[in-house]
Amino acid sequence: MRIEEVMRYLGYQNNQVDQQTMQRVREIIQSVEETIVPRWDFQSFEVRKWSKDRVELVDLPFPLEGESIAEHLQSSLRIYLMAVTLGVESERMLLRTQAISMTDSLILDSCLSAYVEDAADQCESEIRKLIAESEELTFRFSPGYGDLPLTVHQELIRNLKWDRILGITTTNSMMMVPSKSVIAVIGVEEMNEKKNKTMRPCGNQSCEACELQDSCNWKK
């Protein structure tokens, strides 16, 4: 993972990082990369029926509901559903570190966030290899963005067996455990149809649908 990403999660913006923090970040990155093996899985689905507030997929017994996901997939006839996780060991590392040092656990949390995004990028590039040259992928759209409900987490986990394959589960409030997991919907579009939208540096196309609002470090 890139150290700059970790620093961004920690709130540094091109500022000079003190030596202690830099050294700890390096050490913790190393132990994360040694200890944790990211796992991922993805599967493609044909779009059966598109309407402006839901997308139905072939072989998926429930639709993806909401205007924002429909907009996201408006030019896609085929999509990929992907899940990435750092596994239970990432949670153990967090719990252990919290008991010993909050400073380290803060750094570790940022390292893990950067690491799972890294893994999501790798998963996405595997998907990219499978599409035609004339095709392009949309950005990764996750449950909780816009009006795509978080309950989709649980439905996808059960139907795509991500609980068995990857060990991802949800809590009653639909949060994923392990928390360092990503579930996302990626649309496949014909290249020429691709809208010339400006991308945010995070990969999202706008900040409106995003939960982070003022606490986003990209916006700062």
């Binding site: 540094y12 949670e91 919290q98 008991a99 909050m102 909780g144 068995r164 589960t169 809590t171 949060m175």
Partner: protein, 799 residues
């Protein structure tokens, strides 16, 4: 095969399970509902035909279509749990009748779909209840066994096994899923799984799903090598491949059967299939039945293993250190932490002992002011899945020991049982039920005997009594009792004599609480070291001791060399190398050589901070040091943070470092028989539904660094817990955190509940999705944009 004859067949003939229900449903040409268990009622014929095909293929056991038939997964179905379960069992019977062959109907249980504590939010008791509900729906006349399968968490597996065993008399088959790295997704290795499952006395154990037979081969080999229970294997049809949106598996029937042959030969007793295996796969396997005399499986490996969920420790592997430090009676800080319901400090003590070389940790929660059982349960939950080190539960209360054994996802040691009849009657059944080890004290109704001979008489009585309960002597750790040399000098050697005699005559283990010997004498560490060395020489297997005490671990390493337990002294040399290496000190030379308190706090240099504070304490009153040194330094650091000269990691590092300085101030006050009065008490909680608590923990550190007492209620906290804490600690300020929009709604409800019951309690909120406006909307008094802001709020509210 006639009903219940399978037990006699086991080991004489290889027996066969069916294959994949899910794969067959998908191929059945009907729309697969989100809840496949509904098909039992909506399309019974489809399910019956699947069963029939597997029976035709030759399966001896057929599995009901109930993998997800639990309260949580069936939440959104129109049918009740009993109805679905009854229909599923009926379908299996209808199929068997149609085929005219007697097969075993096995009720299938899959995972609940939530992660257990401490990583997830599923509580052991809740998991148990969810499984129990299913078991209570089963008709003993119509179900021959229960299969608990595809489990990845040994803790959840235990809850399921106990639910079946305590609420029925069905045989239990237990299988877990492993990944290519030969562990389950939650980190359990095959040997540890076998030991924990055998501890609960299951009838069949093994592995299923996730991998094909080829990838599984090594795991199966490892299981067979240690298991004394018949082994079952249900592999997938190879590895899944996604072809044009469809899942297919890499092995066809012939290739699958060829790969599975290895299991026939190596002593697997029951074979079936998992994902991707159709009746054709099972038929190919059954065809091979007669080609094989099921090879008599070699007896499982011996050894005396205690286990956490992720690690086994062999008590036969030289002298084992059982860390004694998690005991409030000898540790004031720990006592305070227990009283406050704070378990992080205990975790810290645990890690320190492990760092020093403890291989097992003793946990004692005896404190008159607390609910010992609750604290024990909390500690077991906190440590489970967090520590690799197996645990020893230490209490005089049988209820506390039972609560701990019940929840612990491992093989524990119970400390202790005495030779009193009442103690044995109460505790040996628990040892048997949970497959635990027991520390057996050589004392009885008449007290501690003086001589080795008399103590051995008691030990022998206990060995015999344990045997009556079905507990082999290898599971007993006999404590021949250490008396203090200052009071009973003549009896010190009797203790060791008893160890020698027992070790010569029995296969029991021995244990001692070593440091008792020096009580009342000066230079205790020396007496302890010498006695410990002598005890090792007498044959001591385990010592309950402080591994951080000087020389203890040294002695063990040296002893292993002299006792020929460390071939080539390899471990000893490595240990010596580690010791010689100076502790790597992250002590980069700062360019300015700034030795101010601020600089040292920012660097996290605890030793220099300590030095500076001690100097100050010579010149100033303790409270003046706080007001004139510590707080101004923290304020200055806070300003640097505001101005983005430093960032969050440094702010938190400084706050953590200052805690050590506060300890010095506190102990100085204690010397003067004064107590440090916290500036006020604040309750913090991450609200129900939210499990992200790093923000809350940062707030806690900041508040504590400013001298506030924090009652940390944890994450995923119920409103009732918050209300109770406000009442109990007379809280004036509550801090709530939530990370997700969905849980902010819950925050609003909590605020309303607090307002209803308490007047004047102020509430501050924080979390990624909150804003000042949003905080006002939900009725909070203060919004904290970061951890530091909480200090301003506290200063304002609690001034």
């Amino acid at each position: 095969m006639m009903s219940r004859e399978w037990k006699e067949q086991l080991g004489r003939n290889i027996l066969f399970f069916d294959g994949a229900m899910g794969t067959m449903i998908q191929a059945a040409g009907i729309a697969v509902p989100a809840i496949p268990e509904e098909l039992n009622i909506d399309h019974p014929k489809v399910i019956q035909e699947i069963h029939q095909k597997f029976i035709q293929a030759g399966a001896d056991f057929i599995t009901t279509n109930t993998f997800g038939a639990n309260r949580l997964k069936l939440e959104n179905t129109r049918y009740s749990l009993p109805k679905i379960i009854a229909a599923a069992v009926d379908n299996a019977h209808v199929a068997a009748e149609k085929e005219g062959r007697s097969v075993q109907v096995v009720y299938d249980i899959g995972p609940i779909g939530m992660m257990m504590k401490p990583i997830g939010s599923l509580d052991f008791d809740t998991a148990y209840e969810i499984f129990k509900e299913q078991v209570l729906c089963l008709d003993p006349e119509r179900v021959d066994a229960v299969l608990i399968e595809t489990m990845t968490d040994i803790s959840e597996m235990r809850a399921a096994i106990l639910a079946v065993k305590e609420n029925s008399s069905f045989p239990v088959f237990a299988t877990m899923s492993f990944t290519e790295d030969e562990r389950t997704l939650t980190g359990t290795d095959p040997e540890t799984m076998v030991r924990i499952l055998e501890g609960l006395n299951v009838d069949l154990l093994g592995v299923n799903c996730s991998l094909g037979p080829v990838e599984m081969a090594e795991i199966v080999k490892r299981i067979l090598a240690v298991s004394n229970t018949p082994v079952i294997v249900q592999a997938n049809a190879g590895l899944p491949m996604r072809i044009e949106g469809e899942t297919r598996f890499s092995l066809d029937e012939a290739a699958y059967a060829a790969a599975v042959e290895l299991f026939f030969e190596s002593g697997v007793a029951v074979i079936g299939g998992c994902c991707g295996t159709t009746p054709a796969y099972i038929q190919k396997l059954v065809e091979k039945r007669d080609c094989y005399q099921p090879s008599q499986k070699a007896k499982g490996q011996s050894g005396s293993f205690v286990c956490s969920s992720t690690k086994s420790v062999n008590l036969d592997d030289g002298a084992i250190v059982i860390g004694e430090r998690i005991n409030p009676s000898g540790n004031k800080r720990l006592k305070e932490a227990f009283l406050q319901g704070d378990f992080q400090f205990a975790t810290k003590v645990a890690f320190e002992q492990i760092h020093h070389g403890a291989q097992v940790l003793d946990i004692n929660t005896s404190l008159p002011q607390i609910d010992e059982e609750q604290v024990m349960i909390q500690l077991v939950d906190t440590f489970s899945g967090l520590l690799d080190t197996p645990l020893q539960f230490d209490s005089v209360k049988a209820t506390v020991l039972e609560a701990a054994l019940r929840r612990y996802a491992g093989i524990a040691i119970v400390n202790s049982i005495s030779g009193k009849q009442s103690s044995m009657d109460r505790l040996f059944p628990l040892i048997k039920k949970y497959g635990a080890y027991a520390v057996c004290l050589c004392l009885d109704e008449k007290g501690i005997p003086h001589t080795a001979k008399e103590r051995i008489v008691i030990a022998e009585k206990m060995i015999a009594n344990a045997k009556k309960h079905g507990i082999p002597e290898e599971r007993l750790l006999i404590d021949t009792l250490v008396l203090t040399a200052s009071a009973q000098q003549a009896e010190v050697m009797e203790t060791l004599e008893a160890i020698r005699t027992l070790k010569a005559k029995y296969r029991v283990k021995t244990t001692l609480g070593v440091s008792n010997v020096s009580y009342g004498l000066p230079y205790r560490p020396l007496i302890n070291r010498v006695f410990f060395t002598l005890a090792l020489g007498a044959g001591l297997d385990t010592a309950i001791i402080n591994p951080g005490a000087e020389g203890i671990v040294d002695i063990i390493h040296a002893f292993h060399v002299l006792n020929n337990q460390d071939p080539g002294a390899v471990s000893f040399i490595a240990y010596n190398d580690r010791k010689q290496r100076p502790e790597s000190q992250a002590d980069p030379i700062s360019s300015k050589q700034d030795n101010s308190l601020i600089a040292k706090l920012l660097e996290g240099d605890e030793r220099q901070v300590e030095k500076l504070i001690l100097e100050n304490l010579k010149r100033k009153a303790p409270l003046a040091v706080v007001d004139e040194e510590l707080i101004p330094a923290l304020d200055a650091i806070g300003m640097q943070y505001e101005q983005q000269e430093i960032f969050l990691p440094q702010l938190i590092r400084a706050a953590e470092t200052v805690k050590g300085a506060f300890e010095l101030v506190k102990s100085k006050l204690a010397q003067d028989h004064e107590e440090f009065e916290p500036k006020g008490t604040i309750a913090l909680a991450t609200v129900k539904g939210d499990i992200h608590d790093i923000g809350k923990n940062l707030v806690k550190i900041m508040l504590e660094s400013y001298g506030y007492r924090v009652v940390d209620l944890g994450k995923d906290v119920d409103v009732d817990v918050i209300l109770a804490a406000i009442r109990k600690h007379q809280i004036q300020l509550v801090g709530l955190s939530a990370l997700m929009t969905t849980t902010v709604a819950g925050m609003e409800e909590i605020i309303q509940s607090i307002r209803l019951e308490f007047h004047g309690v102020k509430i501050m909120v924080g979390g990624a999705v909150l804003t000042d406006d949003y905080a006002k909307q939900i009725g909070a008094d203060f919004y904290c944009r970061d951890a530091r802001a909480s200090v301003f709020v506290a200063d304002q509210v609690l001034k």
